[in-house]
Every structure is written in C-alpha cells, then in structure tokens.
Amino acid sequence: MIEVRDIQKKFGDTTVLKGITTSFRQGVTSLIIGESGAGKTVFLKSLVGLHGIDQGEIFYDDRQLGKMNEDEQKALRTEMGMVFQGNALFDSLNIEENVIFALNMFSEMSAAEKKERADFCLERVNLKGVNNRKPAELSGGMKKRVAIARAIALNPKYLFCDEPNSGLDPRTAILIDNLLQEITHEFNITTVINTHDMNSVVEIGEHIIFIKDGAKAWEGGGDEILHTDNKAVTEFVFSSELFRKIREKS
C-alpha cells in the first residue's frame, strides 16, 4: 500500500501539486486522470522519488520515502517497476538485455535463470522471438510491452505507468490496459497508472483519482465515475459524444 499525505510540489513560483492526499491499495489498479498539464506526471514522479516534494509525506507500507537514506531508497526502488510514457528502453541493449537489466544489477541469479525469467516476462506480455532484436526494430505497441516486461522482471511490489497507451491504436491500447490489470491481480501488485484515456478508465479503472490544476478534485471507483455529479469530472469524462451516450444509456 502506498499512502500519500498532503503532498505539495513547486517549480519556482508555480505550485504544481496542491496538497494531494490519497492511498493506493495492493492488488488494485489505480488510475490518475486529468487534463494534460494537470500535474499527473509530476505526481507520479514525486511518488517514485524522481521529484522531491516540498511538503507532505509519502509512505510505502509504513516506510516514509522522505526519511529514507540513500541505501534504503535504493532498496525500495528494487521493489518498484515503472513504465515510462516514451518506454525509456535502453537503445544500446537488445530486448532480452533490457528485460534482465535490473536482474543483472541486483540479483544473484545464474545466466540460465535470468534467461528463463526474461522469456517468462516476455511471454507474459505476449512477445516471443524478439529477444535479440533492438528496441528500434519494434513497433510502438511491442516496445510498450517490452517496457512492461522490464518493469515486472524483478517481481515488483509497486508498478507505476505513465500514459502506458499514449500513441497506440485503440485495440493495442486496450490490450495494454488489460495486460496491466491482469498483472496487477496475478502478482498482487500496487499499480498506479497515469492516463487521460477514458477507454482505460472504463476498461480497468478500479480506483480513480481525478486531478485538476494540481489538486485532487475527485476520487472514487470505476463505476462511480460514470454517475458522479462532480462538475469538473463530468466536464472531463463526458467531453466526447461517445461517453455522453454511454452515460445516458447507463
């Protein structure tokens, strides 16, 4: 479980996160939604410690991120997996080397065990026979799946995804969404996903936080969001004709 208490983040004079308090449960897919520029990525990067926060506290199963020393933070990070918006695969390494990168750094596994783990992770994201290819040789959807395989290679307790289906066609986007939810349930991971894709909200949203102008404007379950009266949420969620029709029918 991840607990966030009243976090605030400033860049110069601009306050980007304004006192957000929430928690993310284990085995649940939590979605952070909001317009572009609302502060979702800053929030996610603050959660993993890539951005220091100016105020508030973040707890990982009762371990406070801000009070950890460098070694404790490193240890915590081996429990994290992250899928970046642009995948962030290492160009100079092939797919298998990308997937086992963290294993090479931190595990005592033999080469055969690492290869087995890489094959398992790649199969889990429905990728086979790409072990020796370079990231540049793969399509956007395949790269995203490799990024997910890399993120789960070390059996993370916490999985973070920044816009995992941005730039993908709707069918591949849904496949990625479903894959993330399956992995969350299968391995009982605390998963936090940043998205502005309403398909993802409907498809996999179990716990949703809506951020507007850096502040939490709404929080609830996947079913609740379709019936909420919160004006900011409805303006965002039902901005398209399709979702207005879905709401009317439901």
């Binding site: 990067k45 993993v48 890539l50 933070q73 490193k74 240890a75 915590l76 990070r77 081996t78 994290m80 992250m82 970046f84 918006q85 642009g86 962030a88 695969l89 290492f90 160009d91 100079s92 990168f101 963290a102 090479n104 750094m105 931190f106 973070f160």
Partner: protein, 248 residues
C-alpha cells in the same frame, strides 16, 4: 550575473562528480560498461588519431625544415625540433582537442538523448546510480586509454616526419640522428600527465552537459556543442597551468 552563473555551474559539476565516483551496485555490469566505452570511445578513435598524427608529423617536418634553412644549422636539428613539437604539444594537446570534438560530442549527445527519452530516469527508478553507471566507466576508460592513444600518436607523428624526410627534404639518416639527440624522457612523462588530465576533463565536462539536458532534440545538439567548446577551453587553460607547474 555571469560570475554567479559560472559558480553555480561549477558547483553542479562538482556535485555530479561526487555522485559519479561511488561504489558500483554490481562490478560485473560496470566492467561491461567500461569495456563497451573503451571500445566505443577509445579504440574507435585510433583511425582518426593515426591519420592526423602521420600527416601533421610530415607537415611539421616540412615547415620546420623550411624555417631552419641556414647553413649554420645542421639538418638533424629539424628532427630534434619535430620530436619536441610532437611530444610536448601536438600529441598530448592537439590530439586531445581533436578528441574533445569527437568523443566529447558523442558523450554529450548520447547522455542527452538518454535524458530526454527518460532512460536516465528509468535507471534511477530501478535503483541504479545513473551518474556512476553512465559516467564513471567513460571517465576511467578514457583516462586509461588516452595515454596509449597519445603514445601511438607520438610514434606515428615521428613516422610522418621520417616519411617527409624520405620523400626528398633531407637525409633520413640526419632525421634519425636528430631524433636521438638530447632526448629527455621526462618530456614523455609530462605529455602523459597532461593527457590523463585532458582525458578526465573531456569526459567529465561532456558528461555534465549531456546528463543535465532539459528539453528535446534541439537542446541535445546545443549542449553537445557547449560540451565541445567548454572541454576545449578547459584543455587550453589546463595546458597552460600544467606546463607552468611541470616544466618551469
């Protein structure tokens, strides 16, 4: 204002260095990165260094011979002057300046691209110290390999001079006599000390400009240029300081 910006930049550079030279998470992985960088940044530079050294050696010989055309100065003094020029200045300094362009831009643009594509963030989230993993192997590889490169450059520079003599300027026997005349081995040590310092400056300054890129492709290009300019200026200044300390 300029002074404050400069001091702030220097502070950030030192902070980067303090995070770079830390205990590796896994020696084997750092060893792999070291050999990859050694090949990519060091061995791959052999070709350009060889070509430049041979031709500059030849040109220095022709120019020195042209300037020392005096019946009172024996021909072998040309070889002596060429030898000293190559060992003291051309190989350690000029070749390092050339490497600042080739290797420096490579390091800055590679790290810059990794920064803008979030690969550096990915390393950090994994619990890997990106400063140490990405910068330390490059610095160590070049600090160890550049002296070898410079020794090869000195040798090829002299060969270039010999070839210029051979192709009609004066007797090769005079050239060989001049090469052996009043040889001071300390000059080679001085050149190698300079080379090690220059290699450190090239890698660390270029890494600094690449590692902290903010923005996109344009900023990567801008920072790669800054890396080459700054490391070249640093080499020129360090050259003066080291010469003052080691030779005066």
């Amino acid at each position: 204002m300029f002074l404050i910006t400069w001091i702030r930049t220097l502070g950030r550079y030192w902070l980067m260095l303090s995070r770079t030279f830390r205990k590796p998470e896994n020696w084997n992985e750092y060893k792999k990165a070291f050999f990859r960088d050694l090949d990519h940044l060091g061995v791959d530079s052999l070709g350009i260094v060889a070509v430049i050294s041979i031709f500059v050696g030849a040109v220095v010989t022709i120019q020195t011979n042209y300037n020392l055309q005096d019946p009172l100065i024996p021909d072998y003094y040309v070889a002596l002057a060429v030898r000293e020029s190559i060992i003291l200045e051309f190989s350690p300094t000029i070749v390092s300046l050339i490497l600042a362009g080739k290797v420096g831009s490579n390091i800055a643009s590679t790290l810059g691209s990794m920064r803008v594509s979030e690969q550096i963030d990915a390393l950090e989230v994994m619990g890997v110290n990106p400063h140490a993993y990405l910068i330390m192997p490059k610095v160590v590889a070049l600090v160890l390999f550049n002296p070898i490169l410079i020794i090869i450059s000195m040798f090829l520079g002299v060969i270039g001079g010999y070839l210029a003599a051979y192709f009609g300027i004066f007797s090769t026997q005079d050239f060989i006599t001049g090469l052996q005349l009043e040889f001071n081995a300390y000059y080679v040590s001085y050149a190698l000390i300079k080379t090690v310092v220059f290699a450190f400056l090239i890698t660390s300054i270029s890494a600094f400009y690449g590692f902290f890129v903010k923005g996109g492709a344009i900023e990567v290009g801008v920072n790669a240029t800054k890396a080459v300019v700054s490391s070249s200026v640093a080499i020129i200044v360090a050259n003066y300081v080291l010469t003052q300390i080691l030779l005066v």
